[in-house]
């Protein structure tokens, strides 16, 4: 069971949120070509370690949060607004 500290609502239960996937993905420029868009739509790093991801607070403020979470321990290191730069995780970058 995750407990996510929403910057607007405070600590809330996982049940209030919906997962929305990898937040490290960036939409390429319109002229970036097919390979770049295939990468954007389909290909993921899928790290075993710290993962930057989107969570939608559907049962609360309905805002999108950016969360840094560990994919083995499920520990949450930082939560922010979509355009926040979250601090790097304690044990360095992704495993």
């Amino acid at each position: 069971m995750l407990r996510i500290r929403c910057p607007w609502c405070g600590v809330r239960d996982e049940a209030e949120f919906r997962y929305r996937g990898d937040a490290s993905v960036r939409r390429p420029r319109g002229d970036a070509g097919l390979a770049a868009f295939t990468d954007y739509a389909y290909v993921r790093d899928n790290p075993r370690g710290w993962h930057l991801e989107w969570w939608l607070h559907v049962g609360g403020c309905r805002r999108l949060l950016k969360v840094s979470r560990h994919t083995v321990s499920h520990a949450i290191h930082a939560v922010g607004a979509p355009d926040d730069h979250l601090p790097p995780p304690p044990d360095g970058a992704r495993e």
Binding site: M1, G21, Y42, N46, R48, R69, T71, V72, S73
Partner: protein, 432 residues
Amino acid sequence: MLTTRPIGSIAGRGSSGRYSILRLFREGLNGQRGWSHAWRKATPRPRYKVVIVGGGGHGLATAFYLAAEYGIGDVAVLERGPLGLGNVGRNTTLIRSNYFRPENVRFYDHSLRLWEQLERTLNFNAMVSQRGTLNLFHTEAQRDLFTRRANGMRLQSVDAEALDRGAVRSLLPLIDLDNGRYPVLGGFLQPRGGTVRHDAVAWGYARAASAAGADIVEHCEVTGIRQVAGRVTGVETTQGVIGADIVCLAVAGHSSRLAAMAGLRLPIETHVLQAFVTESVKPLLDVVVTYGAGHFYISQSDKGGLVFGGAIDGYNSYGQRGTLTMAEEVAAAGVTMMPGLARLRIVRQWGGVMDMTMDGSPIVSRTPVAGLIINGGWCYGGFKAIPAGGMTTAHLIAHGTPHPLAAHLDLDRFADGRTCDERGLGPFPYAH
């Protein structure tokens, strides 16, 4: 059709001999002293034609079909731990081929046909039980959707039958047809669906592959993939470097990590799926049932425990354990469908990690690295696919071209815009 010779006739090193009722009887009189290990505990040689990474269902099946069907016995299967502790031993043991898309029906029904003759092929009792798979429906729209799927299956000569409420009631007296929220209107039955004892699948394929000449190497973790000029030359392992012409990854759940060793990124996210088993009770459920108003499936093992599961937990995870949120959701769906379940104790709960792909379909494919082949992306449907997955992967390794039944499962389908999205959900692995 399969033309595999019975395993007892394949001359192998360290064979455990042919199993039969006569031998069982003889060993009984002999104090059970004549049995040997079912498969050889091999130490790896410096070089093989084919190295398969992952001694789960798909890796072992690939090794077996390579030897038995395609005449390639110079194979090693490298397993990080002991055999059978990964996803092949963590699933809910269901087999079926009730899919919607024609290419999926063909692939999974081929698998079902291989399951039907598996025990004769492997000379091993895997307890294949075709007790039927029943999908309940709860709305008229859902009935129409299931009807379309069943008609699609029947067009391909695959069995599917519609049952009305009365037929469901007589088949499943313990189901609450009139539950307040989602009353059951009927169900679709695939009589050939059922269950298989999953541990026996790993052991049976390992024994047969070993007898056919493959080396099964346990406690051998791959730590690197060697390549020269864009071509694999072998793998680095905890037991040293092993050379190979072809390296096949069959490590679903961890495909992204192994592919990263070869510099590749995949259209996969790893998610955890949990399963549960109750205390043993007398026979009360002789079909596999799925609840259509939630994600819930249940069957009764031969030992008497009710084995059930639901959806993936829903966010990226390599933790081989489940979380309580999904456990509660699964339990709620189960008790709604079968109120009597509430009286049973859950004795075990566990999790396995899945390769969830971007279109919900598996990957049996070559990769941009020459000689590197991937069998993965099985989402949470890998167990039923083991025979066909192994067969088509062996074909790809032996011939260098995809097996016709798995040609649509290549990696290029994402860039080419021909994804195989059974449920039409789009590139969101956590939703498949």
